[in-house]
Symmetry: C2
Subunit: 224 residues, 2 copies
DNA sequence: ACCTGAACACCGTTCAAGT
DNA sequence: ACCTGAACACCGTTCAAGT
């Protein structure tokens, strides 16, 4: 909702909250979380660092606004037709892919859990739980469980790419992790070692993500 | 495993990796994530900032070591008797309480998902899944789902206290959040508003955490 | 081998001064 | 009303110099 006083005589490239947030997103996508700097932002917007503070209170507000913009955009593409379970799956996959495309978003959604960005997801999930006729006093806990799972696993998945050399392909990355796990102490980490030997190398992140989601949905269905 | 060369003639207060990690934990607990600074750490240890780098490669390694120390200590107190479900509940509650007591740990476990701290939890969960006779090819996804859920919800819970004034009591905090949610747009956020009106104020974080965990456990049991 | 502390290259944020 | 850019109070990390 831009103020009606914003008249047309302004330069097209005048600073605005929206332009700042867009530039911040671009910076975050290009250079990661550390890439977002008031100085870098000012350079990209061809202005002084201080100018940004006229439109945005501080860095945290910028991160919150950027997250909200991305999540709103992404959720807008998710249709709510289909069964409640189908819709929840769609919302979950949408977030998985969005966070994969913007790894900084995962961190941000975990860090600021009750900002509007997260609430939008919470809301969408809640509708589907109501459609499933989940008992009223179980809706909150169920929605929280789904929300935490979705954001947690998606962030973890997206973060994996960044932990080691970002130039690494997925296969090489898994190879390295598997090798590391197999070198763990045999007494202390038998399960982890076994996973590394059998499943880690060719597991499918998206499939596992959906499998875990299915567990929660099954649990919800069983309690109806 | 201290090197055998560490002879007794050393001053008792000589710098060591262990003393540094302990001081880092104290700093993190007292002053939060921002409180851990090489300068503050040096002051507390009565040394120069650069000295720390002789024992620890960088700040990240310090965070990883601190997390590992806390998680190892905490998990050590969790008995593995009882049924697998009971043990998983104990591990989950242990992490919930530990992260509640050390809020920085939640952030750290999410940020560095495959460091030993997280792997210790993964391992413990894995053992119980094997004891439950979960199908081999479902063990990885199930363990990941449980791990993400536990860390995700615990972090969120612990983070809540820090978002607003830390001097705020829990009741006042929930009151503020509920009031904020009820002011959200009625068209866009009906579910969130309803939760704020009905369940948010007197929900029990631990109980909801366990309820969500139960959903996953029920889903796992249903797939056996 | 281990410690010191100044120095370097950054940050977020503020604010007097400009238009 | 909006922008500028120097200044402030910090960071993590390095490194020559000490013991």
């Amino acid at each position: 909702m831009p103020k009606p006083t914003r008249s047309s005589e302004r330069r097209d490239d005048a600073l605005s909250r929206e332009r700042i947030v867009d530039a911040a997103i671009a910076l975050l996508d290009d250079d990661g979380e550390d890439g977002l700097t008031f100085r870098a932002l000012a350079t990209r917007l061809e202005t002084g660092a201080g100018a940004i503070y006229w439109h945005v209170a501080n860095k945290n507000e910028l991160l919150v606004a950027a997250s909200d913009a991305i999540v709103t955009r992404a959720l807008g593409d998710v249709a709510s037709c289909g069964t409640p379970h189908e819709t929840i799956r769609s919302v979950a996959l949408c977030l998985f892919d969005t966070i994969d495309a913007h790894p900084w978003l995962g961190t941000q959604l975990s860090r600021a859990p009750w900002e509007t960005a997260t609430l939008r997801v919470f809301e969408r999930i809640g509708h589907q739980l109501q459609a499933l006729a989940v008992k009223a006093d179980a809706q909150f806990a169920s929605a929280c469980a789904l929300l935490s799972y979705i954001i947690g696993v998606s962030s973890q998945n997206a973060g994996n790419g960044l932990l080691l050399d970002p130039s690494l392909g997925r296969t090489e990355f898994l190879e390295i992790v598997a090798a590391k796990w197999q070198q763990l102490d045999a007494q202390e980490f038998p399960f982890t070692r076994q996973i590394a030997a059998t499943q880690l190398r060719d597991h499918d992140d998206r499939a596992d993500f959906l499998a875990g989601l299915e567990l929660i949905l099954a649990g919800i269905a069983a309690a109806l």
